[in-house]
Amino acid sequence: MLGLILNRLAQVAFVLAGLTVLTFLLVRAVPTDPATILAGEGATAEQLATIRERYGFDRPLHEQFAAYVGQLARGDLGISVYTSRPVATDLVQRLPATVELALAALVLAIALGIPMGVLAATSYRRMADHLLRVLSMLGLAVASFWLAIMLQMTLSLNLGWFPLRGRIDTVAEPPPGVTGLFTIDYLLAGQPAMAWQALVHLALPAVTLALPAMATISRFVRSSLIETLQKDFVAYEIAMGYPRRVVIWKYALRNSLSATVTQIGLLVGLLLSGSIVVEAIFSWPGLGDYIYRAIITGDTNPVLSATLLIGVIYAVANILVDVIQALIDPRVRSGR
């Protein structure tokens, strides 16, 4: 198991190195002059030249890259032009909000997606299966920005059941930071009413983000479970008097999770990129919202760093996937 984790860590290091080069090149390749943005409107040519010199924009690309990597190694992610604060500080402040949103969406997607998939597989080609297929196709087809706005219009503005935006009411006091997840931190601080408020704020963005992930999970569970139910051991288990629900939910489902767990690892990427749009619409003060602002203002340091950070999260999620695979399947554990 340890060998497996070390092996994956080495792969991740390689991938992240590639990602660093790629994001750097992409940002520098965009035909905007970072000096112009830094200097603001109406700067003189002389001022621009000074800025170029100070930030090294006038030096060759490979020197700029070497300097950038050196900064990264020291944990210096540069300054955000938009917030005029160190990017590292911004990221640390905003990461928990995104983690809370993505986790909530993931939990929702798994908690609903797996039973939906099981129901579809066990009612294969019958009514429930067809209904669930339509539902999951809708979940995949509906654009999240449209869904987000629809939910805001109906459930928030018309019915007033949910708040329109933000993590908590603007006048509310944030909880003492322990985990950074408001719902949990309020509970830890013994403020259940505030935890509820945070949860209600979380609901709509989490549902928006979870829907496509839920549809994906349910489709993967359905198809692998249908395949598993054809296996000899399922017939044997039924023939030896295991109750049907035990055969399905315990013995067959576990054999059907491999592809789904891999898919969930990939979904983490979908959730993080999806959070850019969802956070922007719901004014959720997380990474996505931060990246969105940085992109539209041409603020390169935050874009670079946040992209890297998302890459790291994604990589860690996929190491977790491998560990979970090994926990599910003894043959993976013993390397067979």
Binding site: K231, D232, F233, A235, Y236, E237, I238, A239, M240, G241, Y242, P243, R244, V246, Y251, R254, N255, I328, D329, P330, R331, S334, R336
Partner: protein, 329 residues
């Protein structure tokens, strides 16, 4: 509770249909079979003759596309078709009719230890034995020792992929014995194993059967295995019972031309191995009259047109052939 003169398992004129893309296939028709208490009955036939379908029908684990369209399967006098899935699972399977499957490589769940899988059987059917987890583990270990698995205690915590094929088959045999069933249905339990292991498993089965006095329906395509193990034989061809009777009688005086050829195929009998020309017919469009007539060397006028009936020729011996009832049907 048991009446030892009444049949334990009686399959009476069973027919089963399977819906396929080619339409409805009658995969079983006029199938008769009887297992007396404590008796070991061999069910013999070529691949594709419906043996496994019959086994699945008895255990009521036919695929959704299959339906019993006629006849009855009676276990201790109860028509199994009258039991719903829930009662079948709770009262019959494992507890009264246990199953030994064909392929030990595919029948065990790869993600659970063999101990977990056998414990699951006891969890639902172990009330008769009483006791809790620890007693159950002890019971499984004792059975593992009895089927001569090495390190029976440690074996409980192994995963199927850590066991050899023969060991897995021993695990499955132990599983079948867990709840002291009255009948064991064994579906070609040695076919997937190599020859040496086959022999060991057969010896073990014979020992256990003699010791426990449990009734066995033993499915095989190998007459040699039948000769070693069984006291009665039912021969199937193309979804039908063609002959049934006591072992010695079938082996030494087979009446149906098909049985005769099958017996001759058995290499131990020191004759030239003849094989049977032709192949099992397609069930999509089975031959009219007697289904064996295209391959039969005793074919006479009437074989193609008049389907014969299974006729009792005395001494628990029944034959489904025009020669036996003199074309009287």
């Amino acid at each position: 509770m048991a009446d030892d003169t009444a049949p334990m398992l009686e399959v009476d004129d069973l027919s089963v249909r399977i819906g396929t893309l080619d339409g409805q296939l009658e995969v079983l028709q006029q199938v008769h079979l009887r297992v007396m208490p404590g008796q070991v009955v061999g069910l013999v036939g070529e691949s594709g003759c419906g043996k496994s379908t019959l086994v699945r029908a008895v255990l009521r684990i036919l695929p959704d596309s299959a339906r019993q369209t006629g006849g009855a399967i009676r276990f201790r006098g109860t028509d199994l078709a009258t039991l719903d899935e829930r009662r079948m699972s709770r009262e019959i399977r494992a507890r009264r009719i246990a199953f030994i499957p064909q392929d030990p490589y595919l029948a065990l769940n790869p993600l659970f230890t063999v101990g977990q899988q056998l414990m699951e059987i006891l969890r639902w059917h172990g009330q008769a034995q009483g006791g809790g987890r620890r007693q159950w583990r002890a019971r499984i270990a004792a059975l593992f020792a009895r089927v001569r698995l090495p390190e029976p205690e440690a074996m409980l915590d192994r995963f199927p992929h850590q066991l050899s094929g023969g060991q897995r088959q021993r695990v499955l045999i132990a599983a079948a014995l867990l709840c002291d069933p009255e009948l064991i249905v064994a579906d070609e339990p040695t076919t997937a194993l190599d020859v040496t292991t086959q022999q060991q498993i057969l010896v073990l089965l014979r020992e256990l059967v003699e010791e426990l006095g449990v009734a066995v329906l033993f499915v095989t395509h190998d007459f040699g295995v039948v000769a070693e193990l069984c006291s009665a034989v039912t021969v199937m061809y193309a979804g039908q019972t063609v002959e049934a009777g006591p072992m010695t009688e079938i082996l030494h005086a087979p009446q149906h031309p098909y049985t005769r050829r099958l017996v001759e195929c058995h290499p131990d009998r020191m004759r030239e191995l003849r094989g049977i020309p032709g192949a099992v017919p397609s069930l999509v469009n089975p031959p009219g009259g007697c289904r064996f007539h295209p391959r039969c060397d005793r074919r006479v006028a009437g074989c193609e047109t008049r389907p014969p009936q299974l006729v009792d020729v005395g001494g628990d011996h029944a034959v489904n052939c025009i020669h036996v009832h003199g074309g009287a049907a």
